[in-house]
């Protein structure tokens, strides 16, 4: 053994204590009790952390037990219902068949007209104006209150220049401007960091859409060129819509789900 391994060497030369195995066994047996004592006596945040760990272990143990029990239990097998089977009291009715099968595009057009979109978050909490804007007092005596500062995450395009400060009514601070979003593909289940091209719609109103404010539920357009998607016609898709699923001002980042 290497020259520096003093511990192993001394064990090899002198052997272990005479009661080594016994002590080891007893120590291991005591560990359980000590762990429980600790869990019962620890106060404060450490106690909470221990409780959380214990609960996670317990849940995992329950899961494994349930898994093991699955194979031994027997269940009644259900007979599959045949397609087109009809209960006895409906047997005499005639089925009407649709003459025309509606195509996908027509269905989508209808939905568009109705203003209904198939999005992951159909409803979001409305954001009030005083939550969205903060009043900025200006003027020599700080009495003028016509300026507003946006308190939510915003997107401004790459070629954005502010209006002259004297005339700009809405201030979008640089600290709250975002250019990238973490977009999840719902089928692939993986997340990409993609650039935002623009804000398509903010559910709280057209004014916010025009300002570029991004809140939970707003639809943004992202640059998906790195995903390498191709249309059936053969053209490369480089922009797609995604819906924001978190509160960007609370988390410091924009998480969205791609609308396929």
């Amino acid at each position: 053994m290497p020259q520096g391994d003093y511990i192993e060497r001394s064990i090899k030369e002198n052997g272990r204590r005479l009661d080594y195995e016994e002590r080891k066994r007893k120590k291991a047996a005591r560990e359980v009790h000590k762990h429980s004592q600790k869990a019962q006596k620890t106060l404060g945040i450490k106690g909470k952390i221990i409780a959380k760990k214990n609960y996670a272990e317990k849940a995992q143990m329950k899961r494994t037990l349930a898994m093991h029990e699955e194979s031994t239990s027997r269940r009644k097998a259900d007979d599959n219902v045949q397609e087109g089977a009809v209960p006895a009291y409906l047997l005499d009715r005639e089925n009407t068949a649709r003459a025309k099968i509606l195509s996908n595009t027509i269905k989508q057009k209808r939905k568009e007209k109705a203003g209904k979109w198939d999005v992951p978050l159909p409803k979001v909490r409305p954001v009030a104006e005083d939550e969205m804007f903060k009043v900025v007092r200006t003027g020599k005596r700080k009495t003028k209150q016509w300026k507003r500062m946006v308190t939510k995450a915003t997107f401004v395009g790459p070629g954005f220049t502010r209006k002259p400060p004297k005339y700009e009514r809405f201030i979008r601070p640089t600290g709250l401007r975002f250019t990238k979003a973490h977009v999840t593909h719902p089928e692939l289940k993986c997340t990409f960091n993609l650039e935002i091209i623009g804000v398509k719609k903010n559910p709280n109103g057209p004014m916010y859409t025009s300002l570029g404010v991004i809140t939970k539920g707003s639809i943004i357009e992202v640059n998906v060129s790195e995903l390498g998607l191709v249309t059936p016609a053969g053209k490369v898709v480089w922009g797609k819509y995604a819906q924001v699923t978190n509160n960007p001002e609370n988390d410091g980042c924009i998480n969205a789900v791609l609308l396929v």
Partner: protein
């Protein structure tokens, strides 16, 4: 720059523990209480502080890791190569690079989130941002978990590498496996290398140290090398190759001429030829080992030829260096088992190495600085006259006589060796004692008598001092007696004189007792009278006092006994009984048990002043002795005050003192009141 001490690298925690440490530190070291109603700037700064603090901690810890691990380019090339062989340079660099990236990423995250926190307008929002920031930092760390685990393993292994100084005098031992390298190093140094009959027993470098000509030499034992092409070598062999390549050392190439290692001389010679290039500029000695199994002269022709070739090669290196051409210097035989020739080999190697190093030093530029500082002064001869040493003949004779006497005198050690050696004959060390009476030579002196150290009472001048003391006391007594009978100018009746004497005696006893009490008050425990530590207030004493006044004590004694603690079953020691003490009122001579259980504070008469230094005690002068006494007393004082018997006395007399367990608890808990 770390030279070769890799033991000082701090432990690298694994990913989970790392996160736990930092987060719990943040939770402990930053303020924890915050309310919705605080001013917004206060809320913001509260959370910004947490984010910054966590980032600073991460940065600090990761920086220590990066700084403490040695950079492979900065250390000695021997160690650089060795670490590459053992841990793979690329993997090592990648791991450290990942740590560096993580550190930068965490810095960026903190910066971004602190910027965002400035726009937080509610407690909830600031809190969410802080949670997001810390969460992100911890995710970064989770990702580098495998690198941290790898670095921890590397650190553990690195700390156990033998500490080889690449710049000092080194002797390197190489050869085929099983030729006897480890046995050799075991013989000349104290390194305890495993020696086993199977090949590749030694799997790493071993270091031992040996001395030659008042200088210390490092001896490095390498694992055996097989004769293979360079690319096929495994890690163990690569360690030896690295050592051979980078260390400027004297090389001992070991040859097993008996072939008992399993390889023929031809194979070993082939190995020699293939690694010859590593022996350039290094003093090389070819050592033929295991001569007890096969002497060098008994070798076959071919083998001899191969050995001679090796010798010639080794000679070439020798000539290249210093111009020595002796055969014996390059080819040596030895046997590690019978230990013949081992020292010769070591001396030859050390000598060659020393010469080479001295030469190199002389040729280098730095030597001029040193040489300028040396100057051997030789007095200039003023004329050509010879002046030899002059010793008077009488001195020479005396010297010769003394030498002869020395030789003639038999020492105790010679006597011991004659009679069988150290274990068999025990020397009589008392034979030459010088004592007043020769019969005392064989006496055994006791060490402990009556519980006291006899040595404390030994004094060579004791007889003298006793005489002096007695003389003094005699004088004083005479004075006292003179004073006695001239109290009021009138003479006293004999009864009055008796009473006077009694009174004076009792008074002096009381005064002495009081003085003793006062002097030891500092280190005496204060025991309330009811516990009566000194057993002064016994029924015996009471009986004695009452009877001396003419009263009958039996009733009083019975009453006390009926109320005593022995009723409750406490074991009590018997007070001294059956004494004829009409005379001794004040002399309570207690039983042996009582005596031993009492602590004696000033019970022996002092025959020498405390500050006087006894030769043989180990103290320099009286000031030091006084200081030592003071220190001793100081260390004992606290214990005595608490009535402890000694340093190991941890007894708690009452486990549940009443004053701590009773009463209402208005403030404070019961464990402190």
């Amino acid at each position: 720059m770390v030279q070769y001490n890799f033991k000082k690298i701090t432990v690298v925690p694994n990913g989970k523990d790392f996160i736990d440490i930092i987060l719990s530190r943040t939770q402990r070291q930053t303020p924890t209480v915050v309310h919705k109603g605080y001013a917004i700037s206060r809320l913001r700064s509260f959370y910004m502080r947490k984010v910054k603090y966590t980032q600073t901690n991460f940065h600090e810890k990761l920086s220590t890791i990066i700084d403490e691990f040695p950079r492979l380019g900065d250390i000695h090339p021997f160690y650089g190569d060795l670490l590459h062989v053992l841990y793979n340079k690329d993997h090592y660099k990648l791991a450290l690079g990942q740590i560096n990236t993580a550190r930068n990423l965490i810095g960026k995250i903190a910066k971004d989130y602190v910027k965002l926190l400035k726009y937080g307008d509610s407690l909830y929002r600031c809190k969410c941002l802080k949670v997001a920031a810390l969460g992100r930092m911890c995710t970064v760390l989770k990702r580098i978990g495998p690198s941290l685990a790898y670095l921890e393993q590397v650190r553990q292994h690195m700390a156990r590498l033998p500490s080889i100084d690449p710049n000092t005098r080194t002797i390197l031992i190489c050869g085929y496996p099983n030729v006897g390298k480890s046995s050799f190093i075991n013989k000349i140094t104290r390194a305890d290398v495993d020696v086993q009959p199977y090949a590749f027993t030694t799997k790493s470098l071993f270091v031992g140290h040996t001395d030659y000509k008042y200088l210390r030499y490092q001896v490095i034992d390498t694992p055996g090398i097989l004769d293979r092409p360079f690319e096929d070598r495994n890690i163990i062999e690569m360690c030896s190759i690295t050592a051979l390549a980078h260390l400027r050392a004297a090389i001992l190439f070991f040859l097993d001429i008996s072939g008992s290692c399993g390889y023929t001389i031809a194979q070993q010679a082939a190995l020699f030829q293939s690694i010859k290039s590593l022996f350039l500029n290094k003093p090389l000695i070819v050592v033929c080992n295991k001569t007890d199994l096969q002497p060098l002269d008994g070798l076959s022709e071919d083998d001899m030829k191969l050995v001679n070739e090796m010798k010639a090669d080794a000679l070439k290196t020798a000539i290249g260096q210093g111009g020595e051409g002796t055969d014996a210097d390059v080819l040596l035989t030895m046997s590690a088992l019978t230990e013949e020739g081992v020292i010769a080999v070591k001396n030859a190697a050390c000598e060659r190495l020393l010469n080479q190093r001295v030469e190199i030093k002389m040729k280098s530029k730095k030597i001029n600085d040193c040489l300028n500082r040396f100057h051997v002064a030789v007095p200039k001869p003023r004329d050509q006259k010879e002046r030899p040493v002059c010793i008077p003949p009488a001195v020479l004779e005396a010297k010769a006589k003394q030498a002869a006497a020395e030789e003639k005198r038999k020492t105790e050690k010679d006597l011991e060796e004659e009679n069988g050696g150290a274990g068999v004959y025990s020397m009589n060390l008392r034979k030459h004692y010088i004592l007043a009476d020769d019969e005392w030579k064989e006496d055994i002196l006791p060490e402990i008598l009556d519980g006291h150290n006899v040595y404390d009472f030994i004094d060579p001048d004791i007889l003298q001092r006793v005489e002096e003391l007695e003389r003094e006391e005699g004088l004083r007594q005479a004075e006292d007696e003179e004073d006695d009978f001239e109290m009021d100018g009138t003479e006293l009746t004999p009864e009055q004189q008796e009473a006077l004497i009694k009174i004076r005696r009792k008074k002096s006893v009381l005064i002495n007792q009081h003085r003793i009490k006062k002097s030891t008050a500092e280190s005496r425990p204060i025991v309330p009278r009811k516990f009566d530590k000194d057993r002064q207030f016994t029924t015996e004493r009471m009986g004695r006092e009452l009877s001396s006044r003419g009263l009958d004590p039996s009733l009083a004694i019975n009453r006390m006994r009926s109320r005593s603690a022995s009723r409750t079953g406490r074991k009590r020691e018997r007070s001294p009984e059956g004494r004829d003490d009409g005379m001794d009122i004040d002399d309570d001579t207690p039983s042996k048990k009582q005596r031993l259980s009492r602590s004696r504070s000033r019970s022996r008469s002092v025959s020498r002043p405390p500050h006087e230094v006894v030769p043989g005690e180990g103290l320099r002068d009286s000031a030091q002795k006084i200081k030592a006494i003071k220190l001793a007393k100081k260390s004992v004082k606290k214990r005595n005050k608490n009535a402890k018997r000694g340093e190991a006395d941890r007894v708690i007399p009452t486990l549940k003192p009443k004053h701590l367990y009773t009463g209402k608890r208005p403030k404070g808990k019961t464990d402190r009141r």
